[in-house]
C-alpha cells in the first residue's frame, strides 16, 4: 500500500514567481519524513505539489518530475482527482466544512466521493478516525453539532480525522500540531507512528523536537535570500541531521543560531 515518492529537479512557480527550486528527494515508504525550515521557504508549497494541490492556485505550475511508485504524478494521463484520493492532506489552517456536523465532516471524504457505506460501517469509521485523532472523547456526545463550533485545536484534529478516514496511502501533514496542546500533540504523534506501518507520511513542522521524535528522515529547506526561491538544503536521516549535519546552515538553524 505505502508508496515511495521520488522527486527530481522540481521547480515550483506561482505565476512568474519561483517559490521553490531544484528539489531532489526520495521519500521512503512506510516512514515519516519531516520537513523543517524557516517561514516562507516553501515547505507548504512543496508539500502541496506532492498531491497536485499546487495547481489549484491560479497560475501555479511546476517543472520537474514527481514519481510515485514508478508512476509520473504529472503525466498527461494522470487524473489529479485520483492522485488526491490516494494522497491525503492536512492543511496548515484547520478548514472543517461549516455546513456539516462533526460526524459529516469525518465522513465527508467517503460521502462526497459517493461511496455507499452502511450506517453501522459509517459509525464505526467515525469512531475509529476520531479516536485516532484523539478527539473522540471530547465530541462523542455531540457528533451532530456543527464542526465549526469546535475550538481551533479541536478543528485541527477533526481535519486530521477527516483526512485519515479516507485511508490515503500517503498522508501529507502541514504543521498538524501547531495549534495543539502537548497531550494532543503526543496523540497525533502516536497516530503517525501507527499509520506509518501502512502509509507514507510527510510532515511539515516548526517543532524540532517533534521532527527528532517521530521522523526517520528530515529535509531542511532554506531561502538563499529575500525574494529568492527556497531550496532543499539538506536531506538526511533524522539522527544525522540532528547530530552531525552535512551543512553549516542546517546546524545553525537547528541549534537556533539562525539569521
Amino acid at each position: 500500500m505505502a508508496k515511495r515518492i521520488d522527486v527530481s529537479d522540481l521547480d515550483i512557480y506561482y505565476g512568474n514567481f519561483k517559490a521553490v527550486e531544484g528539489v531532489n528527494i526520495s521519500i521512503e515508504p512506510r516512514s515519516i519524513t519531516a520537513l523543517i525550515g524557516p517561514s516562507g521557504c516553501g515547505k507548504s508549497t512543496f508539500l502541496r505539489s506532492l498531491n497536485r494541490m499546487h495547481e489549484v492556485v491560479p497560475g501555479a505550475r511546476i517543472e520537474g518530475k514527481v514519481v510515485i511508485d514508478g508512476q509520473d504524478l504529472y503525466g498527461s494521463d494522470v487524473d489529479p482527482v485520483d492522485v488526491r484520493r490516494q494522497i491525503g492532506m492536512v492543511f496548515q489552517r484547520p478548514n472543517p466544512f461549516p455546513t456539516m456536523s462533526i460526524y459529516d465532516n469525518v465522513v465527508a471524504g467517503v460521502r462526497l466521493n459517493s461511496t455507499k457505506l452502511k450506517r453501522a460501517a459509517l459509525d464505526e469509521l467515525v469512531e475509529r478516525s476520531l479516536r485516532a485523532a484523539n478527539l473522540w472523547t471530547e465530541v462523542k456526545d455531540r457528533l451532530d453539532r456543527p464542526g465549526a463550533g469546535l475550538s481551533g485545536g479541536q478543528q485541527q484534529r477533526l481535519c486530521i480525522a477527516r483526512a485519515i478516514a479516507v485511508e490515503p496511502e500517503v498522508l501529507l501533514m502541514d504543521e498538524p500540531c501547531s495549534a495543539l496542546d502537548p497531550i494532543s500533540t503526543l496523540a497525533i504523534e502516536d497516530l503517525m507512528t501507527q499509520l506509518k506501518e501502512r502509509f507514507t507520511i510527510v510532515i511539515v513542522t516548526h517543532n524540532m523536537q517533534q521532527a527528532a521524535r517521530v521522523s526517520e528522515f528530515t529535509g531542511f529547506f532554506n531561502l538563499a535570500g529575500v525574494g529568492q526561491p527556497g531550496r532543499l538544503v539538506e536531506f538526511n536521516p533524522t539522527e544525522k541531521i540532528f547530530s552531525n549535519p552535512d551543512q553549516k546552515s542546517t546546524e545553525d538553524y537547528i541549534s537556533g543560531r539562525f539569521g
Binding site: P58, R84, P96, P98, G109, L112, N113, P146, A148, G149
Partner: protein, 360 residues
C-alpha cells in the same frame, strides 16, 4: 486608579499611566436639555415670523444643533463638541432619508385600505363598470408571471455565476462580465420592447402573452441574480474548496456539495431580493402582456392582468365616476408593497435559517 477617583476637574491629569486626559461629560439629559432650549428658541423664532410647521421644524433643528454645539464647546471642550455636532448631523441626515419612505408608506396605506376587502381578493374586473370589482386576476397574474420569470432567471443566473467564479479563465469571463454589466443597466422598457419584438417574430404584431412578459422580466432579473450569486460564491473561502479537493472530490461535486451549501443562505437572500426587484415592474408588462378584465392563469395564452399594470390602467382610465377605480389602484399599490416587504422578510428568514451554524 487615581484617574477614576481623582476629584480634579482638570482636563489632563498626570496619573501613574502618564497623561490620560479626563473630560467632563454632560449628563445624559444635559445634552438633550441644551438641544431642547435651542429648539424652543427656533420655534419661537418661527412664531415671530408667522408660524409654519415645516419652517418651525427646520429652525428648531438648526438652532438646537447649533446650541448643543456651542454649549458643549463651552462646557465639555472642543473634541466632544465636534463629536456632538457630527452625531447630530448624522441623525438629521437619517431623519431626512426616512421622510420620503414614511410619507410614501403612509400615503399608500391610508389610501389603499379603502378597498382592502374580501371582494378585492376574489373577484376579477369582469363585467365591472364602476363600483366593486377586484384584483384577483391581477394578483394571480403577478404571481404567475413572477414565478415563470424566476424559473427562467434563477438557473441561468446561478449557472452563469458558477461559471464566472469557479471555471472562468481568460477573456470569456471578462466579456460575460461586461455583458452582465450592460444588462444591469438596460432600461426596463427596452427589455419589454425586446421581448415584444421577439415574440412578434413568431406570433405576429400585437402579440400579448404572459410568457413574453416573463422573458422581458428575465432580461432584467438575470443580471441581478448573476451579480448577487457571484458575490456570495466569492465569499466561500478557498480553503473549503481545497479541503474538498484534497479528499479526492472532483470539482463539480465540490461545487454541488460544498460551495453551494455553504453559500445557500446568501443565494436565497439574493434570489428573493432579485424577485422583489422585478415584481413591481410596469413598463415591460405594459407592452408584452397588456391588461384584461378577466382571470387568465395561462401564461402561454393571451393577455394576463398584473398588479402594476392594473394599477396603471385603473388610475389612467378610471371611467366615470373615477373614485372607485382610483381606490382600486391604491389598493393594488398597497398589495404590491406588501408583496415586496414579504419578500424582504423571507430573504431575512432565509439568511437566518440557512446560515452556517457554529452551534455555540
Amino acid at each position: 486608579m487615581s484617574t477614576s477617583t481623582s476629584p480634579a476637574p482638570a482636563t489632563t491629569s498626570a496619573g501613574p499611566l502618564g497623561s490620560i486626559s479626563q473630560h467632563r461629560r454632560l449628563p445624559r439629559f444635559g445634552a438633550a436639555g441644551i438641544f431642547a432650549v435651542g429648539a424652543a428658541a427656533g420655534i419661537m423664532l418661527s412664531a415671530v415670523t408667522g408660524f409654519a410647521l415645516v419652517l418651525a421644524a427646520i429652525y428648531a433643528v438648526v438652532l438646537g444643533t447649533a446650541g448643543l454645539h456651542v454649549g458643549s464647546r463651552l462646557l465639555e471642550g472642543r473634541r466632544t463638541a465636534a463629536d456632538r455636532l457630527v452625531t447630530a448631523l448624522v441623525r438629521i441626515a437619517f431623519a431626512l432619508a426616512m421622510v420620503p419612505l414614511v410619507w410614501l408608506v403612509w400615503t399608500v396605506v391610508s389610501k389603499g385600505t379603502a378597498r382592502l376587502d374580501g371582494a378585492f381578493f376574489n373577484q376579477s374586473m369582469f363585467g365591472i363598470a364602476n363600483e366593486g370589482g377586484g384584483a384577483y386576476h391581477a394578483i394571480m397574474g403577478t404571481l404567475i408571471i413572477t414565478a415563470v420569470t424566476a424559473v427562467i432567471s434563477v438557473p441561468v443566473g446561478l449557472l452563469t455565476a458558477i461559471y464566472l467564479v469557479e471555471y472562468g479563465h481568460g477573456k470569456l469571463p471578462k466579456a460575460i462580465n461586461l455583458l452582465v454589466d450592460v444588462m444591469t443597466g438596460i432600461p426596463s422598457i427596452v427589455a419589454g420592447l425586446f421581448a415584444y419584438a421577439l415574440f412578434s417574430l413568431f406570433f405576429g404584431p400585437g402579440v400579448r402573452l404572459g410568457i413574453a412578459g416573463a422573458v422581458a422580466l428575465s432580461v432584467l432579473m438575470t443580471p441581478v441574480v448573476v451579480r448577487s450569486a457571484e458575490e456570495v460564491f466569492k465569499l466561500v473561502p478557498n480553503e473549503l474548496r481545497e479541503a474538498s479537493y484534497a479528499l479526492g472530490v472532483p470539482k463539480w461535486r465540490t461545487i454541488v456539495k460544498v460551495v453551494i451549501p455553504t453559500a445557500i443562505a446568501g443565494l436565497g437572500t439574493g434570489i428573493t431580493l432579485a424577485i422583489a426587484r422585478v415584481i413591481g415592474e410596469t413598463a415591460p408588462l405594459l407592452v408584452t402582456v397588456g391588461i384584461t378584465a378577466v382571470t387568465n392563469l395561462d401564461p402561454f395564452n393571451g393577455r394576463i392582468a398584473t398588479l402594476p399594470v392594473f394599477a396603471y390602467y385603473q388610475l389612467t382610465r378610471p371611467g366615470v365616476p373615477p373614485e372607485f377605480a382610483v381606490d382600486r389602484a391604491w389598493t393594488a399599490a398597497f398589495i404590491l408593497i406588501i408583496l415586496v416587504m414579504a419578500l424582504n422578510v423571507v430573504a431575512r428568514l432565509i439568511s437566518r435559517f440557512f446560515a452556517p451554524k457554529t452551534g455555540r
